[in-house]
């Protein structure tokens, strides 16, 4: 998994994007795309692909030419959502509606508001670790990674702790519903409807008697006299559970996977120095992030690399490919938490840093930059350092691992190992 094993050629058969081989190891194809087809017209899937670092960066920054929404903001119809989550900001392109909703909620995940939640994250991480610490081994995906973020989010929202397992089931179904498969869509919609039924009375109650939790804050938050509707709050809760829970879960699992199997020589460095967990997080987000692709639609004809992408074309921005671009990073196929050509500190939406280094593309850039970036980074680092502090001689239970994989074309979800067993001493 650490190095591209195949010798890339020039020609790409677009059917490769649907194969289990690509889902597992897309990097040789990414290299072919970057080197030979910086603009690849995939007629089989009716889309264009952009894969070089600066091209992906440019597309993220260029709101005039690339829109996330399927529909034109100035079309004859009002903006809306085709989304399994319900109406949420993911579907509101580059519109004023997107800015309105984002402005209401974005502030809740950074700065002092985030710091208010930190003690709670510590407490939850400890509780989760307590549940397996005496066993001498842990299956990181199910026993650790998937347990922390959902508890953090439900706690932030002020939802009853006894229902946390239900939330885990819901968000996994919601995320799978974003994929291509009809069965998963049905399950996702069912989970969403159940969640909405669950949350409806809570919204009504907290609008009247708001507390300090995030749900209450959303119910009462105002920006320029505008409040979120109940539908918008529900859509946002679905987004938060899925995007904030599932992605962070996968991120934690992927960090441990890379330290155990890709760079076992750096595992001890991190165990010895807890400050390096943030580096591990950053390098993981570059080397093999949880999300590899973002979809955009062109709003006008785009001339790039002696090619033309027509107006209203579907474009995939392969940020997973951009992150491995030799034009942006030295030895891009090497996982290295001490890398000195990657901005290791907090990300920002401009993608430009004072240290002059390039950042990873894992959170996107620009108008749709991940709102929960600081939360995900801190939550992952805290949970992992807590675990590392309580174990010794951590090692893979099995010498071989089948590796990380994206889900198949008939399902949905994020990149992660299926399971990850670790043995340790206490």
């Amino acid at each position: 998994m650490s190095e591209a094993k195949k010798t890339p050629g020039t020609e790409i058969d677009p059917r490769v994007f649907d194969t289990p081989e690509f889902q597992k190891d897309p990097f040789p194809i990414y290299q072919q795309l970057r080197d030979h087809h910086p603009i690849y017209h995939d007629r089989f899937h009716n889309r264009w692909i952009i894969s070089r670092y600066w091209d992906v960066d440019g597309a993220f920054q260029d709101n005039e030419s690339y829109d996330r929404a399927v529909y034109k903001p100035d079309g004859p119809y009002d903006f809306g959502s085709r989304h399994v989550f319900g109406p949420n900001i993911l579907e509101y392109g580059n519109s004023g509606e997107h800015r309105r909703l984002r402005n209401i909620v974005a502030g809740q995940f950074v700065g002092q508001k985030l710091q208010d939640f930190i003690p709670m994250i510590h407490q939850i991480a400890d509780e989760v670790i307590d549940s397996f610490i005496d066993d001498g081994e842990v299956e990181i995906v199910k026993q650790f990674a998937s347990q922390v973020p959902i508890r953090v989010i439900s706690n932030m929202l002020g939802l009853p702790r006894e229902d946390e397992d239900t939330f885990v089931g819901w968000y996994q179904a919601l995320i799978a519903g974003l994929g291509f498969g009809g069965e998963h869509l049905t399950a996702g919609l069912k989970a969403r409807n159940e969640m909405w039924d669950y949350i409806d009375p809570l919204i009504a109650e907290r609008s009247k008697n708001p507390g300090e939790d995030l749900l209450s804050r959303m119910c009462v938050a105002e920006m320029d006299g505008s409040k979120m509707t109940a539908e918008e709050i529900k859509g946002f809760v679905a987004l938060l559970l899925a995007a904030g829970g599932d992605t962070t879960e996968k991120a934690i699992a992927n960090m441990w996977y890379h330290l155990m199997y890709t760079r076992p020589d750096q595992l001890q460095d991190v165990i010895d120095n807890e400050d390096l967990w943030e580096n591990t997080f950053t390098e993981m987000m570059r080397y093999d992030p949880v999300v590899h692709a973002q979809f955009r639609h062109t709003t006008r004809e785009i001339q790039i690399h002696n090619d033309v992408i027509p107006e209203r074309a579907g474009v995939i921005l392969y940020l997973g490919a951009g992150n491995r671009d030799e034009r942006a990073f030295k030895d891009p196929n090497t996982f290295d938490i001490h890398r000195n050509d990657l901005h290791m500190g907090k990300e920002n939406r401009s993608g430009r840093y004072k240290d002059g280094k390039n950042g990873h593309l894992g959170f996107g850039i620009g108008q749709h930059f991940c709102m929960g970036y600081a939360m995900a980074r801190q939550e992952s680092a805290i949970a992992c350092s807590k675990l590392a502090a309580r174990i010794k001689n951590s090692r893979p239970k099995y010498a071989e691992h089948e590796g990380i994989s994206s889900p198949s074309i008939d399902s949905g979800g994020f990149r992660t190992p299926a399971e990850l067993w670790m043995k340790f001493d206490t």
């Binding site: 058969d13 677009p14 089989f44 529909y71 119809y77 049905t186 107006e311 008939d410």
Partner: protein
């Protein structure tokens, strides 16, 4: 059940609200797209189909079971994997094809991304007239040459030695390509046409073939400019539409944009179906009228061009969905031609089918109240309810008559045509999306 309006809301066929606030302040209709999408998708889960099925090996071999699921359950299916909308009901497919205001077909030159391509002369009346004149005069003779040479062997492959060869010989003769160059021209033409596929390797090869064909035609065109003949290249040279002289690029584009699949593919499929349906076979060879009906039924039952792409010119609401501008619609002839709402026993091959029109389908207009098999690639359906006497027959009619003539000639030279023993031919595409036809049809026969 059609949608109904109640309490200022439009209730869709699933009983869900698809539209609220029917009026904006300026009086224009107001839609909430998420309401259309969300509620429609809740009612219309797509669990009966997996996206992978539409690009699978099974689909390449036999698309009919898969598109039947779409037609029965998701007639306007949003295919996220292939970023397109599948239209599968007969009336929907024809409505998309007759709606030039909202949808467009993109030419093959667009697929190749050609800058300043030549002009497509295929709709020019003098060319159609010349093609009709040539085909009526020479199709019989070209088919006879093939049938005679087959008759001497006693066995053969009807897919390649008859269907493919007849279609190509007809083209080569109509262009008066020297017989020594026939192999080279065939290869260039075939590579150029296959290059319009989604497959980048084929497209690259097709690009080269386009260049090579241009070089090949240069001296030929120069000669015919000086000494025009009766061939179609000479006709094209003399056309000079809009008083601009015809260029080599115009001729190459005209050859590129012409249908190359229907005559070849339908002939092969017709004989495949006849040989696997002995009773229908006996009926079809009994007279020319029934052979014509067999051809039309083949075009419906097993059309070689199983889908065509259309693109939305702008955001438009259709079939309960909001289709965004630029969206690609996969109009499935395979699904539409076997729509049980239109044809009885649609999966059955019935030569003298009573519920099918014998003329070209023209959008929503049906010549005798009946539908016809949708055949893509033969140009726009004629806008004339009946063809005026001073106009040549449409390509649909011309291709039909030519195929029937060729089959009649075959029948008149070969007796007792049967599938070779131990063979079980089938229809398939070389790759997903390409012509769906019979590539191997080994037969035995006796000379008449």
């Amino acid at each position: 059940m059609a949608s109904v309006i109640k309490d200022d809301q439009v209730i869709g066929k699933n009983g869900v609200i698809i539209r609220k606030h029917p009026q904006r302040s300026d009086g224009s209709p107001k839609y909430r797209t998420y309401e259309i999408y969300q509620r429609e998708r809740v009612g219309e889960s797509t669990e009966k189909i997996k996206p992978g099925q539409l690009i699978s090996e099974n689909y390449r071999q036999d698309p009919y079971p898969t598109v039947a699921v779409l037609r029965e359950h998701y007639p306007c299916y949003r295919d996220w994997l292939s970023n397109s909308y599948w239209i599968t009901e007969y009336n929907d497919v024809t409505s998309i094809f007759s709606d030039e205001a909202n949808f467009e077909t993109r030419p093959k030159t667009w697929v190749y991304g050609l800058e300043n391509p030549g002009r497509n002369l295929n709709e020019e009346l003098p060319l159609l007239e010349a093609e009709e004149k040539f085909t009526d005069a020479r199709a019989d003779e070209i088919a006879t040459t093939i049938a005679v040479s087959l008759a001497q062997k006693g066995h053969g492959n009807l897919a390649t030695e008859f269907a493919a060869r007849f279609a190509m010989n007809l083209l080569i003769t109509s262009l008066d390509i020297p017989s020594a160059d026939a192999g080279q021209f065939t290869s260039l033409f075939w590579r150029m046409q296959r290059g319009t596929s989604w497959n980048p390797a084929l497209r690259e090869d097709g690009r080269k073939a386009l260049d090579e064909l241009t070089h090949y035609l240069e001296p030929l065109v120069a000669t015919r400019k000086k000494q025009p003949g009766e061939d179609l290249i000479s006709v094209m040279i003399q056309l000079a539409p809009s008083d601009e002289p015809t260029t080599i690029d115009d001729i190459v584009v005209t050859l590129l944009e012409r249908d190359h699949e229907t005559l070849h593919g339908t002939l092969a499929n017709l004989w495949f179906l006849l040989l696997t349906h002995p009773e229908e076979h006996q009926q079809a060879i009994s007279d020319r009228r029934l052979m014509k009906l067999a051809y039309l039924e083949t075009l419906r039952h097993s059309t070689p061009v199983i889908y065509a792409h259309r693109y939305a010119r702008h955001e438009v609401e259709r079939f309960g969905r909001l289709i965004p501008e630029g969206a690609q619609l996969v109009c499935s002839a395979a699904a539409a031609n076997r729509d049980p709402k239109i044809f009885n026993d649609p999966n059955k091959f019935i030569v003298d089918r009573k519920d099918m029109c014998q003329r070209e389908s023209r959008g929503q207009y049906r010549a005798d109240g009946l539908a016809a098999g949708i055949a893509f690639g033969l140009g726009k359906p004629s806008i004339h309810p009946a063809i005026p006497e001073d106009r040549p027959r449409s390509r649909y009619a011309l291709t039909r008559d030519t195929a029937v003539t060729a089959s009649q000639v075959l029948v008149s030279h070969l007796d007792n045509i049967r599938l070779a023993k131990g063979t079980s031919p089938k229809l398939s595409a070389l790759t997903v999306g390409e012509m769906h036809t019979c590539w191997k049809l080994p037969v035995t026969f006796s000379k008449k």
